[in-house]
């Protein structure tokens, strides 16, 4: 019930304090003498050339995409796994069908070469 979530709620609030406190402490304890060279972007000691917020290849998007789809799949399967005792063999098979339909998509991605790097 809500009592269980009270702990999580307090944890969210207090849990943020734990990392913030040392950072603030570091601010007071450490020296603070900024200069333009120190505050420059660090790229192996070379002068920075151009904007760093550049464009990336679509590969990264494909992986995140497959991850999203499988995440949703797992959210569907968790209740199925929890209710396993109440399910007959038919319901079990329908859950497996669910998985197999999604495997099709994985096979497509594989065949298409979308899971290769570079």
């Amino acid at each position: 019930m809500l009592d269980n979530w009270l702990f999580v709620g307090i944890f969210v609030l207090i849990g943020a304090v734990f990392p913030i406190a040392p950072i603030l402490m570091g601010k007071f304890l450490g020296p603070n003498k900024p200069n333009p060279i120190k505050a420059d972007t660090y790229e192996c000691g070379m002068e920075t050339v151009g904007e760093s917020w550049i464009q990336f290849k679509v590969q990264y998007y494909i992986f995140a995409l497959a991850f999203l789809i499988f995440d949703v799949e797992v959210v569907f399967l968790f209740p199925w796994a929890v209710a396993f005792d109440q399910l007959g063999i038919f319901a079990v098979v329908s859950g497996i069908t669910f998985i197999i339909i999604l495997v099709d998509a994985l096979v497509y991605a594989w065949r298409k070469g979308a899971l290769e790097w570079a």
Partner: protein, 407 residues
Amino acid sequence: MDFLTNPVDAIREWLLGLMANMPAPWPDVIVNLLGVVVVASFGLGLVIILVWVERKVAARFQDRFGPNRVGPYGLFQTVADILKLFTKEDTTPDNADKPVYNLAPILSLFSVLLIWAVIPFSKDWLGTDLNVGVLYIVAVGSLGALAVLMAGWSSNNKFALLGAFRTVAQLVSYEVPLVISILIPVLLARSMGVHAIVDAQDTFFGMFFFMAPIAAVIFFISSIAEVGRTPFDLLEAESEIVAGFHIEYSGAKFAMIFAGEFLHAFTIAVLTATLFFGGWRGPGAEAYPILGWVYFMAKSLGVYLIVSWIRSTLPRIRIDHMLSFNWKYLTPLALATLIVTALLTKILEGQAVWYQSLVMFLSNVVLFLIANEIVKWRESKKPGRQVVGQPRPVARPPAEPAAEAEA
């Protein structure tokens, strides 16, 4: 309540007794608050010892002594390191997106710390028993990927952003087999509550490691990838992208990212021990909760030592190998294991536990052998790469100009 055998419950009772005449929600809130502080400080305090353990173990593997100057066996070396980190200057690059830059290390430790809210340390010693505990762990863990992306983007540094992108590609990829392998203990325990999963492993052969060895190994491997440890430490490959997403961080903020990584490494050991090795379960743990805590820590440290062992033994994997290992081996294998486990669980319903374990263990072994054969067959069909027979560039010292330069 006996204080010696069950200190946590004894203190809880005593506190509730002290606050008996307060208005309704407050005693609960205060006890919860103290619980949060205790759990979170326990996690963070553990980091100090873990760093020492890690360095000692790595040193032994490399035939060194490791830290041995500060305090007995060098135990206070980490404390000295932390003090040093705090007194370092905390720089922020001029080009950074400052609010996001400052938020990222906080979120990175926060996401790991939140997992500890549902970890059962012993019988009745747990933060809270959510009935969606396992999914909660997955959810909170996925905040880490966001923290990495925030750190990389806000630093306004090519290496940081590249490192962040690589890291996130790795994290999200390995999250897929991770969540599928988590589904298997949930299916075996018929519950998503972490406490209920531990309760379901009440005999030695009932430990889910025996029922689902493949799931345990997949969970372990993909958790290591989630933490970004060797052999999956491409995200901080110094030779390629300097230090990855946290290149611009220094001082206390770097310490937070670092602490988050170490705590996460121990958290995966804890989760492996809890989900697959029965957590606090052991002889006598029911009667004496403190014994359960000892078992819990022993199992977790055992798994953690394996993590350190792997770290100091294996070399780094190339990124394309890493991703194809995930998508073309771990994910299909995890899905196949899930299907087989679901069918067998239904078929074996009501049988003795050791019998169930035996059949499932054997089915897992068979599955693993089949997967291995398929991989071998696929490898044999690939055209082999020709290495010999082609002239390769050889570095030779230039003959004439070098001699002149010397003279």
